[in-house]
Symmetry: C2
Subunit: 418 residues, 2 copies
């Protein structure tokens, strides 16, 4: 009396807690004797029929998954064309799902993945194949519509705020004879959520970070340099947090400001080294800069307890929705109170999330455009709250798990994914 | 019946635990009713008579200092000329010490600071001023002679190994359709200690980091690119850890490889973006890179318990040596056993430490020049061991302390420090 299998896949950039969601999905499904297959490298694995049998993993491994960063089954950046343009991949997915008796598809990703899950749910109806598609939220960018926040964001936000505070203490100590300006580059191509979270590093007017550059505001170099100079004069040093998505009046990313190497090749981005160069050239100040890059989204050692709870809850809820027969929905986080912090999980139609993007609200940005407001602080504080360090070994290293990832036998001919 | 005051100063780059040493110094001195003055911004504060009265700080603040990164009294990069060249600063220091009844000078720094403390101890004898000068070790570079390791290093090493492991899990998940190579830049201008510590992130032959670039080995671009390509072919991705001090056969730092911005200005360094560019240009692979910079030496949130114990112990020992009348010595860490890890503190003459530099030993570097040996692992494992997180507040942020830093009244005319 098999009710069919559940397919789980991870999509897009990974986070410190996406595996916690995977862990919750598998755990909840096991409770109800539902077998979970995982697609290797997201939707690509489904297309290629590269499926992993998670029932081969021990209960201990699935528990350890909840404190392991990265994406345990691999992920992908791969966007399906619309079915009107290319129907073949959708046909293939239905074929694979039918071959492996997959009745539930849980796609753990951002707004692109929500779109894919939505399209697939519609196609399944056309094919007359019984399939429930559930999106499961995840992104450090925090740019999904509807949900109050996205699992993965709060841990990256905590990493950002803590790192900026710690580095600022370093700069403060060095400033008299050495570094006067420090530039921290935060992820966020289109929305300044992580840059804004850095604002939690300080409280008083002259606390670091002194200047935050948001992609929601046009960068004005002369104004920026004047602010840096004034801060150094007043405080003794200046800590700048720049979102990688900062653009000038010409609409171009600063990180693509035409820097070339000795051979004249365009250089790989980095808004922080660019700003450091401008400050050094124009103000003659000693500058240090950092680009944490993947460190900020994989820092499970500094994950927020709230984030972990969210990541587990959306995974559990997704399985619950699947069992109840919901389709084309995503479990989202609904905040019901800032203080005390209260929240719940509710289903939202994928239609309302697919391909939409949530910018940092205007009332979170200080009037001068370079800091955050009390409203932003009320939003961020409960998200950063609580520590949930992984277990550590005798070598002082976190004990992250590697799954066995046992492949399911293929039943279909190959399919070219380009 | 004052026996005089003790002057404590911090020098050079700060660490995650230098304030723990300060905390231990102040705590130990208080136990013996010795007043501790702190120089603002290292030796500069002594020259300028900018002294801080630490007796104005509460016991709670001094305790909190032990979990606060940065340098609480400010530090400096300022090298005194030899007394044969310029005797005036030494005369001034003796004047300041005499004015404030300073009988003990504890200088918390690296080999430059050991040199300064040593010179000062000799000058005091010439002046007939009773002064004991004790060096107190500190540096994330781990390059001090004599001592088994330097307080500050182990926490930066733990940060490095944990960050590389976490980022590697991220890259492994992304590699199928996105990032194939990740480059992590570690501090260490002259010695590859921190880069080597990254080796603790993996155990098996194909675990990240796949390639470590040490300043102790000449960089060969063609060989490097061949290794990156072979690793990507075999493993699917490649994680590179590069010491900032890596040099080519011409002896030039890679980070100064002639990169210019759009205006033709030489660009600020960064061996990671340089290598990323080379890999992208020559191999056509997608690359991400990180330059953690100050984050790696201020990450108190991830400090090693062993490091904290060392930092406290050298502070306590320094006060003990001062009380016993030792002069021109430094408390160093002597390892007596790897497993179980055993160590003790012993006094070493500053003569043996001043201006010397300890490179990574050859037997710590794998024969292929790109990884670490079992001997290195035996050295690093106990250093990274144990977690000592700071207390956190309800806003999810570490509760780092800001001292009041109450100035001592000046008694002397100003002195120009240039």
């Amino acid at each position: 009396m098999s009710r069919g299998n559940l397919l789980y896949a991870q999509s897009g950039g990974v986070t410190a807690v996406i595996n916690a969601t995977a862990s919750a999905v598998i755990h909840a499904a096991r409770e109800h004797h539902i077998k979970v297959l995982a697609a290797r490298n997201g939707i690509l694995g489904a297309l290629r029929e590269e499926l992993i049998d998670t029932s081969k993993e021990s209960a201990a491994a699935i528990r350890a998954l909840a404190h392991t960063p990265g994406g345990a089954f691999g992920t992908c950046r791969y966007k399906l064309k619309a079915p009107e343009v290319d129907r073949a991949p959708y046909q293939r997915l239905i074929d694979v799902f039918r071959a492996h008796d997959i009745r539930w598809f849980l796609y753990n990703g951002g707004n692109d993945s929500a779109d894919t899950a939505l399209k697939l749910s519609k196609i399944a109806v056309e094919f007359g194949y019984p399939l429930a598609c559930i999106g499961v939220p995840k992104t450090v960018d925090n740019d999904l519509a509807v949900t109050d926040c996205c699992p993965g964001f709060a841990s990256a936000a905590k990493y950002t705020a803590v790192s900026v505070r710690e580095a600022a203490l370093d700069v403060a100590a060095m400033a008299e004879t050495s570094t006067k300006v420090f530039v921290y580059e935060a992820m966020g191509r289109h929305a300044g959520w992580l840059a804004a979270a850095a604002g939690m590093a300080g409280h008083k007017v002259d606390d670091a970070p002194h200047l935050i550059l948001f992609p929601e505001r046009v960068f004005d170099e002369a104004d920026f340099l004047a602010r840096v100079q004034a801060t150094v004069a007043r405080v003794g040093y200046c800590v700048v947090v720049a979102s990688e998505g900062v653009r000038g009046a010409d609409g171009k990313f600063l990180a693509e400001a035409g820097t070339v190497d000795a051979f004249g090749h365009a250089q790989l981005g980095g808004v922080a080294p660019h700003l450091a160069q401008v400050i050094k050239d124009q103000l003659g100040l000693k500058v240090h800069w950092t680009v944490p890059d993947y460190l900020q989204r994989s820092a499970r050692h500094l994950a927020s307890a709230t984030d972990l709870k969210h990541a587990l809850a959306v995974g559990r809820a997704a399985v619950g929705y699947a069992r109840k027969g919901l389709n084309a929905v995503m479990p989202v986080i609904v905040r019901t109170s800032d203080s005390p912090y209260r929240w719940k999980i509710a289903p939202a139609p994928l239609e309302e999330l697919a391909n939409r993007e949530k910018k940092l609200p205007t009332h979170f940005i200080r009037d001068d455009g370079h800091g955050i407001t009390p409203a932003a602080r009320r939003y961020f504080a409960p998200l950063l709250r609580g520590q949930v360090p992984p277990p550590y070994g005798k070598d002082g290293m976190p004990r992250y798990v590697s799954l066995r990832n046992v492949a399911v036998d293929k039943m279909l001919p190959p399919f070219a994914t380009g």
